[in-house]
Symmetry: C2
Subunit: 304 residues, 2 copies
């Protein structure tokens, strides 16, 4: 398996000023795997309840996501409800129902243990550690987390960070985790915790890559209409690691292109509710949007 | 005269977590003119009191800023006091003393009236209009403003906007002025008010240029230490319009390079209190930082 992701497959209820979705397919591992699978073999580790619609399984199957690690158990799926306001960068969580996730202990099928790349999506660091223990020397381990775990499970998170190569954080999280406001200082602190590569996600303001002392800054696309930003971060990670998986070496140029791919894919995720923006996406549409991002960020010709 | 700027020459008292400055040279026209004068003839229109230190006049003189439009009058200089916190993107205004600015009516000396470029820095829109009335067909009129005038002098501001070509706004201001949250929609609304070119300044997140329907996104430099962001926006405008003044035509490439110049110059302004970061700046240091910004934003080689 090229990439193994552990995270959530969930049913999301989302309200935005432009509409709403009820019990729609979501979850970090969902957005990630449906994106990364375009460029790599992806195995999914998660737990779902009996109420996951068959259409969700069909979608994973149709896109080629390996489900050997997907546990189906009695009970209901993990559910999350959130509301976005006109300022689409901020959201209120309306409810979180762990359901089958409450007693979940991820188990890697034999075929996943030699994964090339491991992505520990945003779940409790103790579960992330359980996955790490079952994997055999991945080429790259990447992790996502959130303010909740930085606050409430800091020691376990630090334990995980010591063992990973790359961390995805938003700018608030990198400051919260490090206790530093200056971004380069904050990132240096986080790098000293373990991961040499830090990707700072800033939503509509783009993303920053810190790879050792080198840095790459990439703006986000300027989108006419963001419908639902849920899952944009996991889609970004899926594009990013999907690209890395498709390359034999991981150098700074590969990571820069991974930033581009992540940014392009995330833009599609925000254009529809649930995974609608990713469902019928053509390679041409992706290539066109990459070109749009290049034009948006291009310096004037001949000015060097 | 290539560029005429009307704005404030002030004495600022600034506190940051890293130190403080008391009655130090500041003001929008100060930062702007000391920056733009590196690339163009600049005439300054402002009013100062008897307490402006001679060293300030010497600095303008030494850098070549034309002071024919600088009025000295009885009374005290405009004073502003502010405090920044660890989150350097936000500040509290501690006091604003208009002093000699209270009864100021800008007068353009004869030699300024045929200015090629006019920059109406952030002052009351009624004063901006007085300047507009005295100018004779500038090639480009640019304006800056702030939330206070958008709220309290909206009609006069709209009157000014109808007559300008370019507006500098931060992302909050563009949303406040337009009543739209989506940035492309907000910018389109502002363009419909008059200025075809909208520059959205986002502090540490960089800046966006909207020129008709074309857009350019440029990240800010990632700075190890921001000492005092006061004046960064006016320095950005000074770099931007200084570059435009040095070119015969104003096309999209010229505007993109103006964004680069503005971003580079603003980064220096934040590295010291008052105008310290701009005082002894060499052309080599500017060129080096431009190269640093290019490296920071460069896409991987051969990936196109």
């Amino acid at each position: 398996m090229q990439i193994v992701v552990v995270g959530s497959v969930a049913l999301d209820t989302v309200q935005t000023p432009w509409g709403e979705a009820y019990d729609a397919l979501g979850g970090s591992a969902t957005y990630f795997s449906l994106t990364a699978v375009r460029q790599a073999e992806v195995g999914l580790v998660a737990v779902v309840g009996e109420d996951l619609p068959d259409s969700a399984l069909e979608l994973f199957g149709q896109k080629g996501v390996d489900l050997a690690g997907l546990e189906r158990t009695e009970g209901k799926c993990f559910r999350w409800g959130g509301r976005y306001h006109a300022d689409i960068n901020h959201r209120d969580t309306l409810f979180t129902q762990l359901n089958v996730f409450e007693h979940f202990h991820p188990k890697l099928p034999e075929s996943y243990r030699k994964a090339d790349i491991l992505f520990l999506a945003n779940i409790h660091p103790a579960l992330q550690m359980e996955v790490l223990e079952q994997a055999q020397k991945p080429r790259l381990v990447a992790v996502d987390t959130m303010n909740l775990w930085i606050d409430s499970a800091r020691d376990e998170l630090l334990e995980v960070l010591r063992r990973v190569d790359l961390v995805f954080l938003n700018d608030e999280e990198v400051r919260q985790l490090s206790g530093r406001y200056s971004l380069p200082e904050a990132v240096a602190q986080v790098q000293a915790m373990g991961p040499g590569i830090v990707v700072v996600k800033k939503g509509e303001h783009g993303a920053l890559l810190f790879d050792g002392k080198r840095c790459f800054a990439l703006p986000a696309l300027v989108l006419d209409q963001v419908v639902d930003p849920t899952g944009a971060g996991d889609t970004f990670a899926g594009g990013f690691l999907g690209h890395v998986a498709s390359k034999e070496t991981i150098d700074h140029d590969v990571l820069r292109e991974a930033m581009v791919r992540g940014t392009v894919m995330a833009s599609f995720a925000t254009e529809g509710f649930s995974v609608d923006g990713l469902r019928d996406l053509s390679s041409e549409a992706i290539a066109d949007r990459r070109e749009e991002l290049r034009r948006l960020t291009s310096w004037p010709d001949g000015s060097a």
